[in-house]
């Protein structure tokens, strides 16, 4: 029987939806290799996060709670996961491919001597012939890979998986003790981006703005009413972030966040392959661009050629009316 550890990603006292998407892959993996999964919650004062995870069919929800985990740091977190994997004889360690998973999981892989599959988007085969799908070359190629070690560490691309729903039953919550060691790195500060809007990777609708919006003031003047009208999260191209229109947290693409909402509206974004890498699996894509030749139109379900400064406010007004 294979054992699977699922790392629960949370921030500011809130569980991330990507954790539930990771659980979806864990369930599929458990079916393919035969076995069950445990969920691991690391942090300080994370009892309520653990409670939220008891209904998803995990055999246990393991809680590691203490000052060493007040702020996420790669060294103690990877040690904790590797120790729990070893003591529970787990052969798979999963986390979402957010920046925490990306930062921490390779260290877990090195500690366990396992290969790591980055940004897994699906599985194939079963038992010892298990195969993994993952994107390469900014999503222009899908690779099928195998892992030659007795276990694997997997970061999961959340946008490819539905969030798990509760499956009945209650998993026991157990507190686990680990030796986090003394990290060499120390936390100095976190400058968070505050927003009342849905999280970019969790939203059903994303509206994203590009360099064509000219500056930060115009970016928000155009994007906020559109987001308000659609209950959407706001995203941006790299050029918009680099030009200082908005914070790095908004960036969609190969280097930023990968999203697959029901509706993605790209406003004054040209559609470079690195941007497409982060949004081309959206269900419905709308592009507004004044250049009829812009590559974004090659992936858009609906394209509208024209000036964003005129069309976006009109769309905001009429979409709000259509939704009410």
């Amino acid at each position: 029987m294979a054992r699977i550890l699922v790392f629960a990603d949370h921030h500011d006292g809130e569980l991330k939806k990507s954790t539930l998407q990771t659980i979806t892959l864990a369930r599929e993996l458990a079916g393919r290799v035969g076995g069950g999964f445990d969920i691991v919650v690391l942090g300080q004062g994370v009892g309520s996060i653990a409670q939220q995870l008891t209904g998803y069919g995990a055999e246990r929800v393991l809680v590691v709670d203490g000052p060493a985990f007040e702020h996420y740091l790669a060294e103690p977190s990877s040690k904790a996961l590797a120790q729990l994997a070893k003591s529970g004889s787990a052969s798979f360690v999963l986390a979402s491919s957010g920046t925490t998973g990306k930062d921490m999981l390779p260290r877990v892989a090195a500690l366990l001597g396992f290969g790591m599959v980055a940004e897994c988007t699906g599985l194939a085969g079963s038992g010892s012939d298990l195969l993994y799908k993952r994107p390469m070359y900014a999503g222009n190629i899908i690779a099928t890979v195998k892992v030659n070690t007795p276990g694997a560490v997997i970061s999961v691309r959340g946008s490819e998986f539905a969030a798990a729903t509760e499956s009945g039953g209650t998993s026991p919550v157990e507190s686990a003790s680990v030796d986090p060691g003394t990290p060499k790195a120390s936390f100095v500060r976190f400058d968070g981006v505050k927003s009342e809007r849905p999280e970019l990777t969790e939203a059903d609708v994303v509206v994203a703005g590009g360099r064509g919006l000219k500056d930060g003031e115009n970016f928000f003047k155009i994007m906020e009413p559109l987001a308000d009208a659609l209950g959407a999260a706001i995203g941006a191209s790299r050029a918009a972030v680099d030009s200082g229109f908005c914070a790095n947290d908004y960036q969609v693409g190969q280097t930023g966040k990968v999203v697959a909402p029901k509706l993605y509206i790209a406003v004054a974004i040209s559609g470079a392959i690195q941007h497409l890498a982060g949004m081309k699996n959206s269900k419905c894509i709308v592009a507004i661009n004044k250049d009829p030749e812009a590559p974004i139109f090659q992936v858009a379900d609906y394209g509208l050629v024209g000036d964003a400064f005129k069309l976006a406010p009109e769309l905001a007004e009429k979409a709000a009316a259509a939704r009410s």
Partner: protein, 251 residues
């Protein structure tokens, strides 16, 4: 101070990737190689630190002879010397690259900072820096957008989900570069001339004491994702709303 920068050459990130007919790999006939963009940020940061702290900057690349131009371009930007570790691309995975870099770190002896790109845009693995840090039991700061070094420690700002995080790392440490870390400089003509005379050491895996070359992760096959077909152009916002409400049913 000594700074080691790991640089990879990748197929031109803006070129269309073609697969071999049997899907066993990428068709590399007549492709153009470029320095991985994130590695250029890593090189630039090392050179900025060199200007401030009088450091020696060593560029290391692992691969066949055609990675030498990647090292040369780092030397032309202003790095001091290069190391090429001989290997074939297909014989490498992230884990082996990290263990080779750990070998180079030990071979060099007195490295203070290892700078890498946060990811190579061919494999998009984003793991070599983190693996290396663990193999060397060093602190890491990945996805860096700002690096300051003083008095034996580095203060690094990282681009993470939800904002910016700042860490302090005692040296030696591993740092991986994000794109907003800096604007890589262009090599000057005198820089390019000088680079021709700068030394590039060639090492084998045996020189570094690496005998275990088994791949932990192996590519079985490659394929193109299903193409997304272009939809329709609409003439007005009213038409767009009509489509979103009645056809796509997303409003």
């Amino acid at each position: 101070m000594k700074i080691l920068v790991a640089a990879k050459r990748v197929i031109d990130p803006d070129a269309r990737i073609k697969l071999l007919p049997d899907g066993s790999g990428v068709d590399v006939q007549s492709v153009e190689y470029k320095v991985n963009p994130f590695c250029e940020n890593a090189i630039e940061e090392a050179l900025a630190l060199k200007e401030e702290h009088d450091a020696e900057v060593v560029i290391v690349s692992i691969g066949p002879d055609d990675v030498t131009p990647t090292i040369r371009s780092g030397l032309a930007m202003g790095a001091d010397r290069g190391i090429r570790v001989e290997s074939e691309d297909a014989a490498l995975d992230s884990d082996l690259v990290a263990r080779i870099l750990a070998g180079v770190f030990k071979h060099e002896g007195d490295v203070d900072i290892v700078l890498l790109g946060k990811q190579a845009v061919d494999g998009d693995n984003n793991q070599v820096g983190q693996l290396l840090a663990q193999y060397l039991e060093l602190p890491q700061a990945c996805f860096a957008s700002e690096v300051k070094v003083s008095g034996g420690s580095a203060t690094v700002t990282r681009e993470v989900d939800g904002g910016l995080e700042t860490l302090e790392l005692p040296l030696p440490a591993v740092i991986t570069a994000d794109l907003r870390l800096n604007e890589p400089r262009y090599a000057s003509l005198p820089g390019i001339m000088k680079a021709k005379r700068k030394p590039i050491d060639e090492l084998s895996l045996a020189d570094l004491g690496i005998t275990d070359t088994a791949l932990k992760v192996e590519v079985v096959r490659l394929e193109e994702p299903p193409a997304r077909h272009a939809g329709v152009m609409v003439e007005s916002v009213d038409q767009l709303i009509d489509k979103l409400v009645n056809v796509a049913k997303v409003l």
